[in-house]
Symmetry: C2
Subunit: 196 residues, 2 copies
């Protein structure tokens, strides 16, 4: 019920802002390994099947993987520049790399690999991100066979939300949605209208 | 030297993206009081005088103040949607509210108050942000005398950066700038070109 509500708000925002390339860009905050916050832009890759879970593709060699292995908590801040809506999505992240023992998860990873463009896929073959650049020249684009499956560096992140804070700056409405799990493991969302 | 470099890149980005209202919006990540990350959009209010420090206005009643009192570390993620540039600015935040004992800091706070629009200022008179909304109707805009000084809820945040990560998605260049402080307290920035 509450789930439908925040998800529907988000789907509406995605549609309203669809004409802007950057509308799928969100900021993902994690806890750095030194205990200080870490924050970067990532791309929303859709919801996982029929769930409320957010999919993000990333490189296993980036710092966020190291960080999420220590603390799986994360918060997405997603601001839609045309409709003036902000979603803050707090939850925990499951890392699905090529060594994942669950065949279903590996399938998800493969699906996400083939769903992304060839250009996106070829980025996973580039030198280790974040490490000093040894070659002063721009790296040439690496060509990749379209039938090649996910490479080692490719990783799928699944964020399972437990809290969503929504604010609309056009009408000054703010809502918070909190996940409530009963003893019988039934999930429901509790929605509260709060001051902006 | 390195300072000039990242600040100049940022000033250039601000100029290039100046036609977009949202170009002054950045995402600020902090550590939540429960140890999970917290992330929200804030507005860049310029640099503090002749320093590299970022100014942000906020309401003392928001959760970020509570969080910053426990852990002053923060990371800004600032993505410029027209020039495809991202700045990740890591540092620590000084909270300047009306009870600050330093007269110079109180002066800064007052300056920041009068530098913001009357509409922005009047928001600090609204009901406690984040608390359940007791009135179903939209709150009327509260009028505020232009000569009224900063109200209790108004707070200036100063982020002093110690690391900046810059990436340009158009030319695939990435640079990291790290603050180095010598034994004699001399500050310098060390810049490294890294893989994007």
């Amino acid at each position: 019920m509450g789930s439908v509500a925040w998800k529907q708000l988000l789907l509406n925002a995605l549609e309203t802002n669809n004409h802007l390339k950057h509308s799928s860009y969100m900021q993902l905050a994690t806890i750095g390994t030194n205990g200080t916050p870490s924050n970067r832009t990532v791309v929303f890759r859709g919801f996982q099947d029929n769930t409320d879970n957010f999919q993000i593709n990333t490189d296993t060699r980036t710092r966020k993987i190291e960080e999420l292995k220590v603390c799986s908590s994360a918060e997405i801040c997603w601001y839609f520049t045309d409709s003036w809506e902000q979603f803050r999505i707090n939850g925990s992240i499951d890392i699905i790399d090529g060594l994942n023992p669950d065949p279903l998860k590996l399938q998800q990873r493969e699906k996400s690999w083939f769903a992304s463009s060839l250009r996106s896929r070829s980025q996973y073959l580039r030198p280790n991100p974040g490490l000093p650049c040894l070659n002063e020249q721009a790296q040439p684009d690496i060509s990749l066979d379209p039938s090649t499956g996910p490479v080692d560096a490719f990783c799928l992140l699944i964020l399972e939300p437990n809290q969503v804070d929504y604010v609309n700056l056009k009408n000054n409405q703010r809502l918070t949605f909190k996940l409530s799990v009963s003893e019988a493991e039934n999930k429901s969302w509790i929605v509260t209208r709060v001051n902006p």
